[in-house]
């Protein structure tokens, strides 16, 4: 399981995280919500190894991830789907997915994992030889998630997977996350689409200005008047 203890992070003079502590159990779906600039992406980047925290610890299955380079974090079974998907647009869908099995952990079972990914996302099987850059937003997100699944993670982190996607697509993606979780992968989900995220998650954290200001079971956080006021108010118009 993932345990973040008292994490501090900054970009130069700009404080991004202050004393953040979160926990993700090995069979949970945990959501991280908060407004733009709250530090959600920074937290994921620290766990994934892309950003070095100033203080605090990141424990995964008892081991400290804090000093590991990103590719080593992947070897330990923690994968991240970054914001904006960041596919390799000049490579095909299949090439993108195959690269996901680059690590030692994932390489032996590459074909089997690939078959499984195509099962989860049948649309990608149809488009396997197309350039990733030519796909629609929803399909690209599928590739991004599929690619992360190819690393055979035990913890899958996603940064704003619903960004720019139609509601039906979002619904189906969240359904996939549920399926993945049932198959034994922990999910740590950062989402702007608070309602959907909190619906799906077992637990949630609320991050504000780099601090954890609320946490609880999905529905609880939803009922919190502060959350409602801050997020669901202006989001009430969403379809």
């Amino acid at each position: 399981m993932l345990e973040v203890q008292d994490l501090d992070a900054a970009y130069g003079e700009l404080r991004a995280l202050a004393g953040v502590s979160v926990r993700v159990g090995s069979d949970e779906i945990v959501a991280l919500v908060g407004s733009n600039g709250a530090g959600k992406t920074t937290l994921l980047r620290c766990i994934a190894g892309l950003t070095r925290p100033r203080a605090g610890r990141i424990l995964w299955q008892g081991q400290d991830l804090g000093v590991l380079a990103p590719h080593r974090v992947v070897e330990r079974g923690v994968a991240m789907v970054p914001e904006g998907r960041r596919l390799f647009g000049h490579m095909t869908v299949e090439e993108n997915l195959s690269l996901g099995a680059f690590s030692l952990r994932a390489r032996p079972a590459r074909q089997a994992t690939l078959d499984r990914v195509y099962q989860i996302f049948p649309r990608l099987a149809e488009r396997r030889r197309q350039l990733a850059g030519a796909l629609s937003g929803g399909e690209q997100q599928m590739v991004a998630i599929g690619r992360a699944l190819m690393t055979r993670p035990s913890l899958l982190m996603l940064d704003e997977p619903s960004l720019g996607l139609a509601p039906r697509v979002v619904e189906s993606l969240l359904g996939v996350l549920l399926e993945i979780n049932r198959a034994g992968v922990a999910v740590f989900l950062v989402e702007q689409n608070v309602r959907a995220a909190l619906d799906l998650a077992h637990r949630a954290y609320l991050l504000e200005h780099g601090r954890v200001v609320g946490q609880g079971r999905g529905a609880e956080v939803l009922a919190d008047p502060e959350v409602r006021r801050a997020y669901l108010g202006p989001l009430a118009v969403e379809p």
């Binding site: 990103p70 992947v74 960041r86 390799f88 690269l99 680059f102 952990r105």
Partner: protein, 290 residues
């Protein structure tokens, strides 16, 4: 007319080497975002290495090539581990500027070293087939240079295949496009960088070998070849091995044409002016979106 065709043929033969020279720099620039302006000196050193192997060990130049390639690759790995590894710690714009300066220092160092070791004289590899040439309908095609062109093309094809098919080739391509995303998939980006740099240097060494075979080398050719490589990269863009090769051939032909029209003394000028014009037309550099 015959004179023009002859010049064009020679231009193509030389242009293939321009393409090979550029391919190494293009790979390094594209993947590491590092502008190693000592690339020409790496070509020069490769040429001297080949020259040494041929004259001291009596090897055939193309056999020497098989040795120069791994030796150059090792030099590249060393340069990365000892120097360029530190440059890639910064953001893109800083990397490019820093590598320009460091490359400049490196070029000077290598050139001074070469002058010391080999003297400033021009050298070239002489072989049995160097003097021979094919005569095709009135134009003369020097055999050594033709073989060099074919070898250059072969190396480009191998590079292309590697980047397309091989696991690490794909990893390098992925790193070039988005290094963070690549590292999130388990790719050790530093290793990808080192590998790309080693391959780039190997290609430079190969180009140098072919240059010393078909033409001549001296310690001061570095700047000239770095400029040629830069011109080809700016003309052909990054990202395609064959595209770079074709760009080299185009430059070779452009030079040949301008030599015929304006006289041999102005041969280089067309490439340099083209280079400047294309650069100014794309001020965001080679990586920006148009």
């Amino acid at each position: 007319m015959r004179g023009l065709v002859q010049q064009l043929i020679l231009g193509v033969l030389l242009g293939g080497l321009y393409g090979l020279a550029a391919a190494g720099l293009s790979l390094v620039f594209g993947v590491l975002r590092v502008l190693n302006v000592a690339h020409g000196e790496l070509i020069m050193l490769g040429g001297y290495l080949a020259f040494g192997l041929v004259t001291l060990l009596g090897l055939d130049p193309f056999v020497a090539l098989l040795l120069v390639i791994p030796l150059s690759a090792s030099l590249g790995a060393l340069l990365y581990a000892g120097l360029f590894r530190f440059i890639v710690r910064h953001g893109e714009e800083t990397r490019i500027k820093n590598s320009l300066l460091v490359g400049f220092g490196l070029a000077l160092t290598f050139q001074a070293l070469a002058v010391r070791l080999f003297t400033a004289d021009e050298r070239s590899i002489t072989t049995a087939y160097r003097g021979r040439a094919l005569a095709l309908g009135g134009v003369v095609v020097p055999l050594g240079r033709l073989l060099s062109l074919l070898v250059a093309l072969l190396l480009i094809a191998l590079l292309h295949a590697f980047l397309r098919r091989a696991r690490w080739g794909q990893a390098i391509r992925a790193t070039a496009e988005d290094w963070e995303a690549a590292s999130l998939l388990g790719i050790d980006v530093r290793r990808a960088y080192g590998l790309a740099f080693a391959i780039g240097t190997a290609l430079a060494g190969a180009a140098g070998t072919l240059v010393s075979l078909g033409y001549s080398i001296s310690p001061s050719i570095g700047l000239e070849w770095t400029l040629k490589a830069l011109i080809v990269i700016v003309l052909a863009g990054l990202g395609s091995a064959f595209g770079t090769f074709v760009g080299g051939v185009v430059l070779g032909c452009a030079e040949a044409l301008s030599a015929v029209v304006f006289g041999g003394a102005y041969r280089e000028v067309v490439g340099l002016l083209l280079f400047f014009c294309v650069l100014v037309a794309r001020p965001q550099g080679l990586f920006g979106r148009s």
